[in-house]
């Protein structure tokens, strides 16, 4: 099972860097901060990000940089804005002020085809698996290619090119569900559905993966399995992972780094190795 210890030997953080010029992003390796002596480009950067819904502020002045291959746990109490921040990072909802750079592009400035091209390098695993219930497991996984290869060929596994079908089957094999390829998605258990969602997220080889409480709707045992599987699949690929979780144990075990949101601010940004359970519990007070 991959743990923080195994991951942190290969990843790094750039928390304490002070890049002023966006052009520097992804321009090449940058010096790393406290976590590691290794160098990595920055995949995600939030600069003074604020988000409010109408007159209801969610958070403000959130800034951080995430290096390639880093696994970052985003923690905080209910309503702290974890999921909202995740959606801002993906460009699914606009930020109120500040900017988000994803893979070197500013998501708030990208629109239309440019934004889709950016998103095509990203995967999402949600709290609820979000599979299309009446379609087969294989078709759901094939949908993971829609960003990179839009069009009707990826609407269903029956229409999909052979290469896509093969890749989807390989992804299903990785999550241990190749035998379920033709089964309807709504006939799977919660744990199986979440594994199919992981297969859909990784099938196109994304550079960044977002996971919004991926095991919140699962029982503890299935949740452990899903988290372990998720990180086993992404750790060797150098994929940057941002996941939200209420599970302190998961945040410390699977994250290289922990970001904590509380009272509308980023209250915590530290390596998982430097934190204890009690440090994180403070975020929930």
């Amino acid at each position: 099972m991959p743990t923080r210890a195994t991951r942190s030997s290969t990843t790094s953080s750039v928390t304490d860097l002070d890049l002023k010029d966006p052009a520097q992003l992804n321009a090449g390796p940058v010096a790393t901060g406290a976590h590691s002596a290794l160098v990595s480009p920055v995949d995600i950067e939030a600069r003074n990000v604020a988000k409010s819904f109408g007159s209801n502020p969610i958070f403000d002045n959130v800034s951080f940089r995430l290096a390639r291959g880093e696994a970052v746990a985003l923690v905080g109490a209910n309503g702290a804005g974890k999921s909202t921040l995740l959606r801002c990072l993906m460009g699914l909802i606009p930020v109120t002020s500040g900017s988000v750079h994803l893979l070197g592009e500013e998501t708030s400035a990208a629109k239309g085809a440019a934004l889709r091209t950016l998103r095509a390098q990203v995967g999402l695993v949600s709290q609820k698996h979000n599979l299309v219930p009446r379609l087969s497991v294989l078709s759901n996984v094939v949908h993971g290619f829609l960003g990179q290869a839009p069009g009707f060929r990826h609407w269903s596994h029956m229409l999909a090119p052979t290469t896509s079908r093969s890749a989807a089957m390989q992804a299903l094999e990785k999550v241990g569900l190749a035998d379920f390829a033709t089964r309807r998605a709504d006939r799977l258990s919660g744990g199986q559905s979440q594994r199919v969602a992981i297969a859909r997220a990784i099938v196109s080889g994304p550079k960044v993966l977002f996971a919004d409480e991926p095991c919140a709707s699962l029982d503890p045992s299935a949740g452990e399995d899903v988290m372990a599987l998720f990180f086993r699949l992404v750790k060797d690929e150098g994929v940057t992972v941002v996941f939200t979780s209420h599970n302190i144990e998961h945040a410390l075990r699977f994250g290289d780094r922990v970001l904590g949101l509380a009272h509308g601010k980023l209250q915590l940004d530290a390596t998982a190795a430097s934190l204890s359970h009690s440090d994180l519990r403070g975020l929930y007070d």
């Binding site: 699914l92 999402l124 299309v132 949908h143 839009p150």
Partner: protein, 267 residues
């Protein structure tokens, strides 16, 4: 012992009382406008009994049954063809009518207004329009069913798509899928059970409508009903009424069975 329980009836406020009175006045006004007559209500049963005595037994002459049977087949052909084409055309129309899918609010509003206009015009009026446009016969009836089905299904398909779980669509959007791909892969499959249910109801509605379109020359068995009454051939008219009832009930049963089979499967 003092009774502390609340009053059984609460005295309405003056405004409520006026509202009730106004409602009652409107109902009586409508009854007067509709020519409601208690005398006619009382005298109707004997007249209805007289009609029934002249209509029964229905005309079971084989030649008449064969002729009416073929007219009923034509009626069903009008209904099925019209409903199927109407349902198919309703899908793209509904995509433009549904809020937050592929079109902006202005387009949504325009398409919904057009669908509202289509629904506001009765199917028999559409049949009259198409008789003028394409001439007498079943084709005019089929076109009337098509347009009536689009008005009905276009609106409900749009509502069905708006009401689907947004989660799958968001997951596909997050991976860079185009709107049209998201709709095809997430929204339409999620709304499919509702589409099937609405489509089957549209078929039932089309069968009921197609039986009377013949009254205005738009094909189907309705013309036989009109001729039967015009010629005081009540036994034949009764045969037509019974055939319509049997076919409509059979279609409703079949539709209910299909609905359970198709939609029930997902549970």
């Amino acid at each position: 012992m003092t009774d502390l329980s609340p009053a059984r009836l609460e005295r309405p406020s003056a405004v409520s009382f006026l509202g009730y009175m106004l409602g009652l006045v409107i109902v009586f006004w409508c009854l007067a406008g509709a020519g409601f007559s208690l005398d006619k209500v009382i005298s109707a049963p004997p007249r209805f009994a007289d009609f029934a005595s002249r209509a029964f037994p229905p005309n079971m002459d084989p030649h008449v049954l064969t002729r009416l049977g073929w007219k009923m087949v034509e009626t069903l052909q009008i209904a099925v063809a019209g409903a199927v084409i109407g349902v198919i055309l309703s899908v793209p129309v509904a995509l433009f009518a549904a809020r937050g899918l592929i079109a902006g609010p202005a387009v949504n509003q325009i398409v919904r207004t057009i669908l509202g206009f289509i629904r506001a015009v009765p199917d028999i009026a559409w049949a009259l329009v198409f008789v003028v446009a394409v001439g007498l016969g079943p084709f005019a009836g089929m076109l009337a069913i098509v347009i009536d089905t689009i008005g009905f299904c276009g609106r409900f398909f749009a509502d069905d798509m708006e009401g689907t779980d947004k989660g799958p669509a968001e997951s596909l959007t997050a991976t860079g899928a185009r709107k049209i791909d998201v709709v095809a892969c997430a929204t339409i499959p999620a709304a499919m059970p509702a589409f099937v249910s609405t489509g089957l109801y549209a078929l039932e509605k089309a069968v009921r409508s197609s039986t009377i379109l013949g009254l205005v020359g738009a094909g189907g068995i309705g013309i036989e009903l009109k001729v039967g009454f015009d010629l005081f051939d009540y036994p034949t008219a009764m045969t037509v009424i019974l055939m319509i009832a049997v076919v409509v009930i059979a279609i409703e049963q079949l539709s209910g069975w299909a609905r359970t089979r198709i939609i029930g499967e997902q549970k």
